[in-house]
């Protein structure tokens, strides 16, 4: 089975997010970027599927900040091939544009399955995977929590609210949006990533020049205007603990403390 895993770079949410000059996006120049965590889950599930069914895993990244590290890390984890689609993407990429670029490249590739993170923190115009599937006119399953070989295709476990799961069989080419892999994403040491950098060069080629309007306009980004904010407790851990104890006691929540 030939599996393609698109990998997206996204803002590290641990960072304080600063807005660009016109307030319609985040200031990308100084922010730290990391691999989209759901794409890491998709990669892990793809590697598990390859181990179960044979075949290959190709990771593909668009030329975003620090994408090389993400792609080399994927090679070190067991991906067979890594492709970087180059271009000027410093101002970010919409999901529609990302999907169109991937669809154009996939048109030149042989593959059975695309496994992609179910979402990213930046996909305000929708999730890439489902848009991609419909551009390719293939089947799609979102919120997958397990993919395994099944009668020449795959069986996908799709999760719903409250933990209910549907099992679906996919018999043709498809795109699967992975929520969580069957196992936690594997660890790979820096030395193995370095070895991958030396042994397996990235294939680079220009990203297709696509026209993929979202039909939407971002007027502004802003921090949520919360109607309330927590009262912050001052002092060191012992002082904070003492105050929490007092609050819990005042509310009569724990009988033994009342």
């Amino acid at each position: 089975m030939q599996i393609i895993v698109p990998m997206q770079q996204t803002v590290d949410l641990v960072e304080e997010l600063e807005l660009n000059d016109d307030g319609t996006g985040v200031e990308r120049e100084y922010l730290k970027f990391v691999a989209n965590e759901w794409d890491e889950q998709a990669l892990e599930e793809a590697l598990l599927l390859k181990e179960a069914a044979g075949g290959s895993v190709t990771v593909v990244g668009i030329d975003e900040t620090d994408v090389d590290g993400t792609l080399f890390s994927a090679l070190a984890k067991g991906a067979d091939r890594a492709v970087k689609l180059t271009g000027d993407f410093e101002n970010g990429i919409s999901s529609h544009q990302r999907a169109a670029i991937l669809a154009a490249w996939l048109g030149t590739q042989e593959f059975d399955l695309v496994m992609v993170g179910v979402q990213s923190p930046e996909d305000l115009d929708g999730q890439t995977g489902v848009i991609l599937a419909n551009l390719l006119d293939t089947a799609h399953v979102s919120v997958a929590i397990g993919v395994e070989p099944h009668e020449g295709g795959v069986k996908v476990r799709q999760e719903f609210g409250g933990g209910t799961v549907h099992e679906l069989a996919l018999s043709g080419r498809a795109v699967v949006g992975v929520q969580a892999a069957t196992a936690a994403p594997r660890y790979v040491s820096i030395s193995r990533v370095r070895a991958a950098m030396q042994d397996s060069p990235l294939e680079t080629l220009p990203a297709a020049d696509v026209d993929a309007p979202t039909g939407t306009t971002v007027r502004r980004l802003y921090a949520p205007e919360s109607s309330s904010h927590a009262e912050m407790l001052e002092g060191d851990a012992d002082a904070v603990a003492a105050r929490i104890l007092e609050i819990v006691r005042e509310r009569g929540i724990v009988k033994e403390l009342s």
Partner: protein
């Protein structure tokens, strides 16, 4: 572009999901503003589940054997056909598994602009304006859509509409033969060792707890308080806690008397499951974490210092 407001009905076993009633509440308001109708789109295999009671002007009832269970491929194609035929001003879907599997596909197939993770939608003249929660809930995006729009809506954003006697119209399904997706089975969640929805006190851990070994600090506090340990999605996905203890959109919705959030940032998917708790105390090193917007009290002290300190003081107080 017409003036109708479409809502995708989510239903299982004849029961319409609460999120649909919330969407219909907003749909009624938007339809009043557009001068169009609130139209509920019900895709089914013969049950017409709950159609009579939907608070809509019209129910478009699409019946097909492939619509017995949720098949993403079938839903997208059936809904895209309805949208192509009727050209609604807005299509509302829930930001659920179904909604995520439908909204983007509908946008790709129709070219209609999609705003995901919406928690507010208004009309400014002919412009639809939606607020989208992005960057893990740390930022809101105000998004304008001039043409036909699709909005996927976060649960709990709108007041539900109830009561109605809609005009039910049967529509022939088109384009959903020859699917490559087959429904195999529906699996209900396993019975749990503990029902976190029934607990008064939850000590809930997130990724910020640092590792599986540190969960014992939360467990010790829960023991001292007479509560149990729950967690956010990353923690259960990592296998640090069992799935049955997951709070949030894809886990359990909880409403305890006390919810202590330990190293939980407060992504919208998590807040959906716990923001109604009576007292929320958040411990998180990131002062800008969205969890502090729903918490009543908070601290940025190290969770691994606060937890043992609090456990010790509670044990001393009850001794």
């Amino acid at each position: 572009m017409g003036s109708d407001v479409f809502t995708l009905v989510e239903h299982v076993g004849g029961t319409v999901d609460d999120s649909t009633h919330e969407l219909l509440g907003k749909a009624r308001e938007l339809a009043t503003a557009t001068g169009g109708r609130s139209v509920a789109c019900l895709l089914h295999s013969g049950a017409r589940a709950g159609a009579d009671g939907l608070a809509a002007d019209v129910v478009l009832s699409v019946e097909h054997p492939a619509l017995e269970h949720f098949l993403p491929e079938a839903y997208v194609k059936a809904l895209a056909a309805l949208v192509a035929d009727h050209e609604p001003r807005v299509v509302l879907v829930a930001n659920s598994t179904v909604g995520m599997d439908v909204a983007g596909g509908l946008s790709a197939r129709t070219g209609n602009g999609l705003v995901a993770y919406c928690n507010a939608i208004t009309l400014e003249g002919d412009t639809l304006v939606a607020i989208s929660q992005v960057f893990g809930g740390k930022l809101n995006a105000e998004v304008a859509v001039e043409g036909p729009a699709i909005c996927s809506v976060v649960s709990g954003s709108f007041a539900p509409a109830t009561g109605g006697s809609p005009d039910i119209q049967d529509v022939t399904a088109s384009g959903i033969d020859n699917l490559t997706t087959t429904f195999l089975a529906r699996i209900e969640p396993e019975a749990s060792d503990v029902d976190i929805t029934a607990e008064d006190i939850l000590v809930s851990v997130g990724r910020g707890i640092g590792g599986a070994d540190n969960i014992e600090f939360a467990q010790e506090l829960a023991d001292a308080l007479g509560g149990v340990v729950s967690g956010s999605r990353p923690v259960t996905d990592a296998g640090w806690l069992s799935k049955t203890r997951q709070v949030g959109k894809s886990g359990q919705k909880v409403k305890p008397k006390l919810y202590i959030a330990c190293g939980i940032s407060g992504a919208p998917e998590h807040l959906e499951g716990m923001s109604d708790a009576e007292l929320i105390i958040a411990i998180n090193s990131d002062a800008n974490a969205p969890i502090f917007d729903v918490a009543h009290f908070g601290t940025t002290e190290d969770v691994l210092d606060v937890l043992p300190a609090l456990t010790e003081q509670i044990e001393a107080a009850v001794a």
